[in-house]
Symmetry: C2
Subunit: 712 residues, 2 copies
């Protein structure tokens, strides 16, 4: 029996908490956590629990949970691993809602059974487990620092979910040093029960959280995670640092968290599908979250660069292209706006070059002009140290203009490059949360992140599209293969599967007589291909059992007779059951459509350039299933070969609708048939518009059976 | 008549200098430069020149050059633009060797004529011009700061050449703030005369220069630059920041320096050819140069990561893959080395995880073990702030280990992540030139740069390969086209050109009778293609003038007769001069080989995947010419489709030698025939090994004629 799950909000706003394993020893985690809870100012009831009793930090220590009265929302468990299960049992029967299991020594070192048993017991009793193997969590909403970190967390608007304990602990000091305010920080550790998706349900709604940073090594809750991320990213920016992106890194990650890191290409594509921003390094992640938590969404894509140096202007222009920031291009508007405030040797082309002679006053006037112009939606302001500009005026100039831009809701980022005074000014401004960077690439990277996030609003959450497929027939085909002890489909089963799914195939018939063969060819239309059908002839071509490109009745008759003659000569004992007459597949664009069950994300679909290029060019992309026709179109645009679908060099545009349809059908199949683990249509040959596309070859692998021996 | 050019060493080590336009006004450039010269401690003779006379900074001011006795190696000119030419004339006739023209107002604002005239005059007199439009130069070898920058340049081992004045000036403060020592810094401005290549000739030999940073917006001296860069990068690391890499950035660069920025793909490929490291941002460039100037080349590729946090270990592993750092993989060796110094919960797999319990002592022992192991060639040491590690011990631990690694010549980089104390420790160590970074990606980036540089030593400078081509015939073909007023070649001229160059074509003959056609077909070998030859029939296929895939004598006879019949019916008045009998081109791998004259780099050659994919996938790469067979092989490996050449999915390996040969022949052609501006063989169809490759289609554009009307 499963109890109802407690509301995740309660984890972040508990009314009463207990620390099991609270310690008198100042060096112990059981003391440190209690100390942080007390110091950070949590106002609910705090109950240290330790059989020894006594008092810690002025709080009476309870010998057991039984001594505590009233409801207990959250318990923090930091007893040795061998006592954890007992403690969990006690909490569960006491009606505790959430149990933070700090203790390590479970699945991360191979002890997965104990972990599973603990979670199973907790779930049954309606208690949820965070961890094990975590450093705890912090919630600004409750002024609750339930971690064994260094303390001193600055409350604010960035939420952090981290799968790495050591990195998370170090983030506490680092965020404080950089004055990045935290709304919540959660260590998820082994993720035995509570997953990122559960925490996001709270963070999406938490009004004090204005941006979310996730450090992920491996995904476990793919389906729910994709669902909540799609919603979350349309409410507030979500940034993911995914480590283990390299093959070797993935192996390192797996060894230290006991979680399987999926392929990085899949992760990358699915984050795009969700509208999540990907950061490569921790620095990038912090920069984005700090900036995005404080910056309103721009009203449009018109960005202007204002600079006192041509060189950094050019660098910023490059950076804008790299990070997807569009520069305003209206020469007339730019001249009208900046002409009056630009010196004669300067430039009103974007970048606006105020020249090396610019002072704070020149910047003020140019930034005024940009602020007043409604077709300018965001600004990159660059400063190179010059003798003409009094560095003492840099800080007020930047701070005042930033404040005005903030008030007006117009995003602005700064970069300042120069000597020690510039560096220290920059450090102070940055600590005051002004987006200012020494390197122009870092500045533009932030603005680029804002625009990537901005795109989420342009694309409303897409509904999921499915296609009708004949599940009864699919079930029959799988059952047939299972009955023969196979975990893959034979060619004719694959063809039948495509029919049941509704993806067109080259036309084909089996003819048992010459007359049937001619009739089949006439019905299919010339040119056709003839192939012998015989389970005794393995190598059809070698036996002379194949004839290609037959263009008329006479050629079919000749070929039919030749095939029988050749095959009887080659394999005298062969039992020939007929000849397969097939449409000769015309040349078209060779694509690949596939689907599989990812260990992290569950059912995913793949699309890309097919044929022999698929392995070499790896020009493919992925989506989590379910997906929509609109999303599949976006997906198509991600492959480098997309122009081939649109038609290049005088070639016709391909029948894109039919390709989208094939992707949706394969996506529907993988989602509705747990019996299938992998399916790959390669090539799917796409023809000109109106002429559809055809699945020329298909490979299907079956999943390991469910315990009850069924496929679903 | 051209005088011999002065030795470039003299520019960096002048015995006597003058400043023309020296000023009494402390706000003027003419004062600032003199002040920097005096302050930095230049020990040669310093002559301020100003008609007003008097004394500046204790130095007697000369009214004119005539008043100065003895040789003058370098003159710094900072008079208004309209007086520059007069000053140049005076210097030239005075025998000045180098003239730094600080003054702006020349080609960068469209005044290119004056600039050209100045340079032409100077060259004739044997004087060289740096600039115009520069902030000057600094040379540590002469303790000479001849810039109008802020002063305070820290002498050291990094040389900087910058095309941007504002950025360069700001670099003076920035390098001082970061304690990056400078051996030389040169502002090249409009590069009217002295180019990067000239300066590199000195910097390659200058022993105090241990790494070279170039900020480039556009290349002008491609040939000499490539030549000297190839030499330089085999002596010391060279890092290039190329701005204007985006299309828009290139436009911005062109507008502000008056130089044409070439395509970024070409620049990128040619820097690879030279062994130059590319940095995207100024930060990356500084990080690399600072690190590379102080780090000896590693003895091998075995890198070990040592960490106290799993998460950053995984991030570093990802970064190693990104930046081409190979992690040591010998589990047994790693266990033997690190087992004794790693806690029981840690890991001796690479990354070596000392766990969150690690202290400075644990690091010392692990770093000792890594230092002692000769199969470990470099180390990435990572630190995440923990409660167990006393931050006060961080600085000495890092500094001492760094010193020991330096002494042993084993490269090491550090990353430390944590709160304010960690940050300030890191800042201090970094100022002491210890390679330590807050972000692991930045640390590994440096090590990756070292390994990229290291590769230069594995590849000795390649000799240039050329192929014999029949230049007389090439000249004839071009002359024929010129005579008809064309700037492109016709199909048959292109075919003849390929023959003269020695690149195989599909076999082909023109037959004037049926007998000739049959004989041609027999000689060429079936299958063949027949095409009508008639200048009156434009659309050969429409007129029934083409027959494909003829497999025997009978089919050739039928087709020949049909072609005559069809064409006479379609175009009764046509003068039919015969039928072209060609080899039917077999399917193979379609490649593209091209060459052109780049405005910056001069003759360059291109190689990549051909056919319709060339435009869509842009899977091509470039090299400056001359190049070598070995370099062309390296070039081939750069394209994504390279595995197709090696044979995938059971396909045969292609005849790579024949493709290399075609590239070398096209490279030789573009180098030896200035009359050709562009040539593109697409497709060059490559067959299995031993079967060569064939130029199926070729397009050739002719260059604008030289003034004397010749092609060379």
């Amino acid at each position: 029996m499963t109890h109802p799950r407690p509301d995740i909000h309660r984890l972040f706003r508990p009314r009463a908490i207990a620390v099991i394993g609270a310690s008198h020893d100042r060096e112990k985690i059981g003391f440190k956590i209690l100390q942080n809870i007390v110091t950070a100012g949590y106002s609910g009831a705090i109950h240290p629990v330790n059989p020894k009793g006594g008092e810690i930090l002025g709080l009476p220590v309870r010998a057991s949970l039984a001594e505590i009265e009233g409801e207990l929302d959250v318990v923090c468990t930091c007893v040795p691993a061998k006592h954890v299960f007992d403690s969990v049992r006690a909490c569960a029967s006491r009606g505790v809602k959430f149990n933070l299991v700090i203790t390590s020594g479970f699945s991360e070192i191979g002890n997965a059974e104990e972990e599973k048993a603990i979670v199973a017991h907790a779930r049954e009793q309606g208690m949820r487990i965070l961890g094990p193997n975590i450093f705890g969590m912090y919630s600004a909403a409750a002024a609750l620092d339930m971690t064994f970190g260094p303390g001193g967390i600055v409350p604010g608007n960035v939420a952090i979910i981290t799968q790495s304990g050591a990195l998370g602990l170090a983030m506490i000091g680092k965020t404080a040093a950089e004055n990045i305010g935290i709304s919540a920080m959660v260590s998820v550790g082994n993720k035995a029960d509570i997953q990122e998706s559960d925490l996001l349900e709270y963070l999406v709604e938490d009004e004090s959280t204005l941006s979310i940073l996730m450090y992920i090594e491996g995904v476990r809750d793919g389906g729910p995670l994709v669902e909540v991320l799609q919603r979350a990213a349309r409410v507030k920016p979500v940034v993911a640092i995914k480590s283990g992106r390299s093959k070797r890194g993935a192996a390192a990650a797996a060894s230290h968290t006991g979680s399987l890191a999926g392929s990085d290409e899949i992760f990358e594509a699915i984050m795009r599908q969700c509208g999540v921003l990907r950061a490569e390094s921790v620095r990038e992640g912090f920069d984005l979250c700090k900036f995005l938590a404080r910056t309103r969404t721009p009203r449009g894509r018109g960005t202007v660069i204002i600079t006192n140096g041509g060189g950094i202007g050019v660098l910023a222009t490059d950076a804008c292209e790299k990070y997807g920031v569009s520069l305003l291009d209206d020469a007339q508007d730019l001249r009208a706006t900046f002409g009056p405030v630009t010196p004669s040797f300067g430039s009103t082309r974007n970048p606006i070059d105020l020249t090396g002679g610019a002072t704070a006053d020149h910047y003020d006037r140019a930034l005024d002009a940009a602020l007043a112009n409604d077709s300018i939606h965001s600004v990159v302001a660059l400063y190179c140290e010059t003798a003409m500009f009094d560095v003492a005026t840099l800080a007020p100039m930047v701070a005042q203009n930033y404040a005005r831009y903030q008030d007006a809701g117009k995003p602005i980022v700064f970069s300042a490059f120069g000597g020690g005074d510039v560096e220290s000014t920059l450090g102070r401004l940055s600590r005051d949360r002004v987006p200012i960077f020494s390197d122009v690439y870092d500045a533009v990277h932030c603005l680029g992140g804002l625009y990537r996030h901005f795109e989420n609003f342009a694309h409303p959450l897409r509904r999921s599209d499915e296609a009708p497929i004949d599940l009864a027939v699919v079930g029959e085909i799988l059952a047939g293969a299972r009955a023969e002890g196979r975990t893959f489909l034979l060619a004719h089963e694959g063809r039948r599967l495509m029919e049941a799914v509704g993806i067109p195939l080259p036309r084909s018939r089996v003819a048992r007589t010459l007359e049937e063969a001619v009739r089949a060819a006439e019905e299919i239309g010339y040119p056709v291909v003839l192939k012998v059908v015989s389970r005794d002839i393995l190598h059809k071509s070698d036996a002379g059992g194949v004839a290609l490109d037959l263009e008329n009745r006479d050629e079919v008759i000749d070929a039919y007779q030749a095939i029988y003659r050749n095959c009887r000569a080659a394999v005298p004992a062969a039992n020939i059951s007929g000849v397969e007459v097939s449409e000769m597949v015309r040349k078209g664009l060779e694509l690949i459509v596939g689907a599989r069950r990812d260990p992290g994300f569950g059912p995913i679909v793949m699309f890309g350039l097919g044929g022999i290029y698929v392995e070499v060019l790896k020009d493919v992309t992925f989506r989590a299933v379910p997906t929509s026709r609109a999303e599949v179109l976006t997906m198509m645009k991600e492959i480098r070969a997309f122009p081939l679908l649109m038609g290049v060099r005088g070639e016709e545009r391909k029948d894109i609708d039919s390709v989208v349809d094939a992707v949706i059908r394969i996506a529907t199949l993988i989602r509705s048939c747990p019996g299938i683990s992998d399916i790959e249509v390669n090539p799917l040959v796409a023809y000109e518009e109106g002429e559809g596309s055809k699945a020329v070859d298909v490979r299907v692998l079956l999943a390991a059976l469910e315990e009850d021996g069924t496929d679903a």
